[in-house]
Each structure stands twice: as structure tokens, then as C-alpha cells.
């Protein structure tokens, strides 16, 4: 089947070329990071994780959201999603690949990566994160690829696949739960020390992932002969709506506990993000755009006519992707580190090299996504012909 990724229109190769160029630039700058050290980023002694880990966190969510397509299909026998399950699974494959790359570019000593296997440490959440992420990548490749192959040969998927499909369903929330536990168990970081961290991660994931999938479905319909289907897109839209509503609700639950209790260790981080501390507040405008935008989008999505019109739906989905990205990709990590353990404020903002390396990893992810979608769509077109 892979041969399908190697043929295509000029536009297809144009896209691949563009993504290759971006990833090439990222790789070149990454070589510089290897040489100089992570000092070329904006990270510091006080804000010791930054953009890379934030992208990783966001993308774990996108990856986990494949379950929102697979679960209705296999547990509720919602046949309509059979048409787009492969799009969800391949999105998960590319998202997890990006996650792993973001971890690697964030390591100070990537050459020692395998120390995690050589000296396995079950008391570290990072150890479990490695297991669940690699396991999830494996499950999605196996499930996606085998089902697609069966579809191509017009036979039902083999029986041995069933356990893998059923394991993949609880595995999906597990990756994002474990990722939340990376942060939610650290005693000195008030912003992250909340039991609602994992539920919040899941709600924003199940909004952002399906929203991205809606956009991808619309693109696939526009540029290929395969139509993912109106019903499918509408069902995804409902999932996005409920998930983003729950996400906004969870956010306000958090705000209530933090500000009604008035415990400074927890409040100061919110104050930094939404009002600024000691006159410093680089992220304040972004955070307001995120929460106000997210709330308005959630309310708009409840209105059936907004959801049913695919143009307004696309705009709303884009808004969900962007606002959840600001929340997790910008606010979450920096907000946890500011103020620092001495209640001092050291700000963080990604530098140009850091942004270009990040863009490079995203480009590699979209390169994988484009090629996998090309394979899937070619096979769907072939069956229909």
C-alpha cells in the first residue's frame, strides 16, 4: 500500500516539498542547538520547560482524540464512522510521532535517550509516558494499517486484530491521563497541582482533536475524490461542541477553587497569566484571547445552524484548535513556572531558533500525515472506482 504515497499530483508533491523544506530548516537549526545547547531557546533556570514540552502536551491530546472516532464505531456500532476511522487513526500516528520528536528535541542529552530503557524507573511518570506513547503509536499503526488493507482487499478485518482495537480504546485516554500526571503530582507547582488536570486535558483534547479532524475532512473532500461524508462531519461537530463546553466548565471549576480559597501558591500563577505579576505579563493578551474565544466558540457551537453550515463550522473548529492551543501550547507550561519557587518572576517566550525547530517538528508531523492520508484516500478512491 505504501506505493500510493509515492505517486500523486504536482500539488501533492508541492505540499511534500514545502513540508520537507520546513523540516529541513528545523533540522539545520536543531544541529545548532546540539552544538550550543538548549541555551538557544528562551528557557531558563526558572522556566525550565517551554515551547517543546507544551507542543508535546497539546499533541498528546490530538493523538488521544482518535478514540472519539474509534469508540462510537466499535463500541456503539456507529457504522458511519467506519468511513473516517482511518483518518482519525492516521492523525493519531502523526501526532504521536510529533510528541516523540518534541521530547527528543527537548532533551539536553539526546544521545543518552536509551538510559530510560537501560535504567527503567517505574516511580517516574516519564517512564510510564514513554510506555503509553510508544504503545499507542504501535496500536494505531497496526489497527489503521490492517483495517485499510482489509478494506482494499474487500474482506473483513482479520479476527486477531480485535483485541488490539479494543485495547486501543482505553489506551487513548490513558496517554493523556499519564501526560497530565507528569505535572499534576509535583508538590511545589501550584498551577499544576490539581486533580482536575487530567479531566481538563481530556476535555480540551476531545475538543481540539475532532475539531482538527473536521478541518482535515473538509480539506480531503475539497482536494480529493473521497468524501468523508456530511453525517460524519456533523457527528464530529457535536463531539467538539460537548467537549469544548465541558472544557470551559472545567476551567471555571479550577478558577473557583483557586480564587475562592485565596491560597497564594495557586492564585499567583493565574494572576501572572491573566493580569501579570510585578509588571510582567507577556502572555496576558494571549490568555484572554484563549479563554474568551473558547467560551464564545462553545456558545456558538450550541446553535444548530452554526454547526450545520459547514463554513461557520469550519471557522468555529479553527477557533477551537487555536484557543485550546494557546491554553496548552503557551499558557500551561509557562504558567506553572511563573512565579518561580522564590515567588520571583522570570518570564519566558520562545526564541526564533526555538520557534523554527518547533515548526520543523510540526512539518515532519504533517509530512507523515499527508503521506498517510494520501495512502488512505487513494485506497478509498480505488474501492469506489
Amino acid at each position: 500500500m505504501f506505493e500510493k504515497a509515492l505517486v500523486g499530483t504536482k500539488r501533492y508533491f508541492g505540499v511534500l516539498g514545502f513540508l520537507l523544506l520546513l523540516s529541513g530548516i528545523g533540522f539545520f537549526i536543531y544541529l545548532r542547538q546540539l552544538d550550543f545547547g538548549l541555551g538557544i531557546t528562551g528557557m531558563s533556570r526558572d522556566v525550565s520547560w517551554g515551547f517543546y514540552i507544551a507542543q508535546f502536551t497539546y499533541l498528546v491530546g490530538v493523538a488521544a482524540s482518535a478514540v472519539m472516532v474509534v469508540l462510537p464505531l466499535y463500541l456503539h456500532n456507529y457504522k458511519a464512522f467506519g468511513r473516517i476511522a482511518i483518518l482519525g487513526e492516521f492523525l493519531a500516528v502523526s501526532a504521536v510521532s510529533m510528541c516523540l520528536l518534541f521530547i527528543i528535541v527537548d532533551l539536553g542529552k539526546p544521545s543518552r535517550l536509551f538510559n530510560v530503557l537501560l535504567h527503567p524507573t517505574p516511580n517516574s511518570v516519564l517512564f510510564w509516558d514513554m510506555i503509553v506513547l510508544n504503545g499507542y503509536l504501535f496500536l494505531n499503526i497496526v489497527c489503521g494499517w490492517t483495517v485499510l488493507q482489509a478494506e482494499r482487499n474487500e474482506v473483513p478485518p482479520p479476527n486477531w486484530l480485535k483485541p488490539f482495537i479494543y485495547i486501543a480504546i482505553p489506551w487513548a485516554p490513558s496517554i493523556h491521563t499519564v501526560t497530565a500526571f507528569l505535572y499534576a503530582g509535583l508538590p511545589g507547582r501550584g498551577y499544576w497541582l490539581t486533580a482536575i488536570m487530567a479531566p481538563r486535558f481530556l476535555s480540551s483534547a476531545f475538543a481540539a482533536g475532532p475539531a482538527l479532524l473536521v478541518l482535515l475532512c473538509l480539506l480531503v473532500r475539497k482536494y480529493t475524490k473521497f468524501d468523508p461524508g456530511r453525517e460524519q462531519i456533523q457527528t464530529l461537530a457535536k463531539i467538539v461542541t460537548y467537549a469544548i463546553l465541558i472544557n470551559v466548565f472545567f476551567f471555571f471549576c479550577e478558577v473557583f477553587t483557586v480564587f475562592y480559597s485565596q491560597i497564594p501558591d495557586h492564585m499567583l500563577h493565574f494572576q501572572y497569566l491573566f493580569a501579570g505579576l510585578e509588571g510582567k505579563g507577556k502572555l496576558v493578551p494571549l490568555m484572554w484571547v484563549s479563554i474568551v474565544g473558547m467560551t464564545i466558540t462553545a456558545i456558538l457551537l450550541i446553535i444548530p445552524s452554526v454547526r450545520k453550515n459547514e463554513t461557520t463550522l469550519a471557522v468555529a473548529c479553527a477557533a477551537v484548535v487555536v484557543t485550546t492551543w494557546i491554553d496548552k501550547g503557551m499558557g500551561l507550561i509557562t504558567g506553572g513556572f511563573v512565579p518561580n519557587p522564590f515567588e520571583g518572576v522570570t518570564e519566558y517566550f520562545p526564541t526564533m531558533p526555538e520557534a523554527l525547530i518547533t515548526l520543523g517538528v510540526w512539518a515532519i508531523g504533517f509530512l507523515i500525515l499527508t503521506m498517510l492520508y494520501k495512502i488512505a484516500v487513494s485506497i478509498k478512491e480505488e474501492i469506489r472506482a
Binding site: 541555551g39 527537548d106 539536553g108 535504567h119 509535583l186 519557587p341 522564590f342
Partner: protein, 270 residues
């Protein structure tokens, strides 16, 4: 029997995966034995549970500086404001970001945030508290490290192996005391007089105070304690007759962020 190229690659791939997994599983279930055993130096200073008492009544500004200087000199801690080649000097913002420190000064409200009482004596506000790794009894950094590059010894010293560290910086997120530093760039151009008895670090690893484990092993007190003119004391918390126990018995002491349950082992007499 013939085997297709495709099947061969499949089998080879899976075998490799299982092989790697099996190695880790064995390590976890049946950890390997230590291959060599070294006899300890008979002069070594030992304790059941190391602890430190900082007597702020005796710690003046100059003494604090001397403690910091002694520690950073013998451990090859870089000074980004004083490079070997003056061209390498970094700007103040970069210094804040890249700074490496094992022991340093901090005002009361920063050392003990959230405990800033309204009517505290003026002199307390003026004090410069010496901060360092607390060698916690329940260290969050050790809990999170994915490679055991940082671990707690039986005698309570929280150690750091800079040669195993992968630079994930999870320990820095976990430490509630800001005691850990990362090598954001090569520290060597910023070490003017290198002490060859202690390793310099590479790019991309975390480091921190190890209570001068290398000196204790030779029977010497930690460098900061030696330079402190009696303001700093280390000793065995488990020994009721030790100097630290005597100080704790006769003075009211405070510790940093005890509410977090990490059980820090640096006590301050104010």
C-alpha cells in the same frame, strides 16, 4: 522453506522490539548485582542521616560570600559574568537564564515565601539566607527522575550523576526549592580556575549540591561548612549526641516549605 523479504523484516523488527523490552523487564524485576565492591576510606565522615543547621546569627554577609565562593570554586561552577575570554561575557538577562548555582543568598521573603509575617523584626528582612539543596528525606526530584540519575543515599544525601542524566529537567520542575541548575550551554569557557579533582560538566545535564559527598568520603567537612566560621554545621540527625541535634535541641529552627511533605534537612536558626 522459504521466507519472503517482507516476512523476514517483520520477524526481525518484532524480535528487536521484544528484545529491548525484555532487557528492561529483567532489570526491573531482578536488578543486576553491583559488579565491583570498593572498601570505604576509614577516615570517611559517616552518618545515619545527614542534616545541616544554618545559624543565621553567626552568618554575616562576608561569611556567606565565602561559603558560596568555596563551594563554587571546588565544584567548577561557571561564572557567566567572568569568562576566560572576555569576549564570551553574557548580558544580564542571559545570566539570569543560564545561571548555575549550588549555594546562594536569598532574602527572607524569597527563601520562605508565604511566611512573610507582618511584624517581623527589621534585622530578619535584612538577612541573607544561604540556600542550597535541602537533601530532603522524601525528595520529589528523586521520585520523578526517569533514569535514577538522581537518587537518595542510605545516609540521606541526595546525589546526582551528571553522566547518566539525559537532561529532561523533570527534577527541576519537581524541586520546590529551586535547588537545581541546568547546563543551558557549555560551562567550560566560564570556569577561570579549574579544579581538576572535580569533573566539569557538559552541555545539557542537571547539577546541584551533593553535600560534598566527595569530601565526606575523604573525611573532610563540606566546603561551605569549612568556610562558614561555625555558622553552618553538618551532622547526624539520628545521633542524639551529635552537634546538629544539640543545636536543634537548644534553638528554635525553621525549614523551607515543610507543608509540602518533602521533609527538607536544612534547618535555619533565625
Amino acid at each position: 522453506m522459504s521466507i519472503s523479504r517482507r516476512d523476514f523484516l517483520r520477524i526481525a523488527g518484532f524480535s528487536t522490539l521484544f528484545g529491548l523490552g525484555a532487557k528492561s523487564a529483567f532489570e526491573m524485576l531482578a536488578p543486576g548485582e553491583l559488579e565491583a565492591k570498593l572498601a570505604p576510606n576509614p577516615k570517611a565522615l559517616t552518618a545515619k542521616r545527614w542534616a545541616m543547621v544554618v545559624d543565621m546569627r553567626k552568618l554575616d554577609e562576608q561569611t556567606a560570600e565565602k561559603c558560596i565562593e568555596a563551594c563554587h570554586r571546588i565544584h567548577n561552577v561557571p561564572d557567566f559574568e567572568d569568562p576566560i575570554d572576555p569576549k564570551d561575557k553574557v548580558d544580564p538577562a542571559e545570566k539570569v537564564r543560564w545561571e548555575v548555582k549550588w549555594i546562594w543568598k536569598e532574602k527572607y521573603e524569597h527563601a520562605f515565601p508565604g511566611q512573610a509575617e507582618v511584624a517581623i523584626p527589621e534585622k530578619i528582612h535584612k538577612l541573607n539566607f544561604l540556600l542550597l539543596c535541602n537533601h530532603c528525606d522524601n525528595p520529589p526530584c528523586v521520585r520523578v527522575c526517569p533514569t535514577k540519575a538522581t537518587w537518595k543515599r542510605d545516609d540521606g544525601v541526595v546525589m546526582m550523576d551528571q553522566h547518566r542524566c539525559i537532561g529532561c529537567r523533570y527534577c527541576m520542575a519537581a524541586c520546590p526549592y529551586g535547588a537545581r541548575s541546568f547546563n543551558w550551554r557549555n560551562p567550560r569557557p566560564f570556569i577561570k580556575s579549574e579544579d581538576e579533582s572535580y569533573p566539569t560538566r557538559e552541555i545539557g545535564v542537571v547539577e546541584k549540591c551533593t553535600l560534598c559527598a566527595e569530601r565526606l568520603a575523604k573525611g573532610q567537612l563540606p566546603a561551605c561548612v569549612e568556610a562558614s566560621k561555625g555558622a553552618l554545621t553538618v551532622g547526624d540527625l539520628n545521633d542524639a549526641k551529635s552537634k546538629v541535634r544539640e543545636l536543634l535541641r537548644n534553638n528554635f529552627t525553621i525549614r523551607r516549605k515543610t507543608q509540602l511533605g518533602s521533609n527538607p534537612q536544612v534547618y535555619y536558626i533565625v
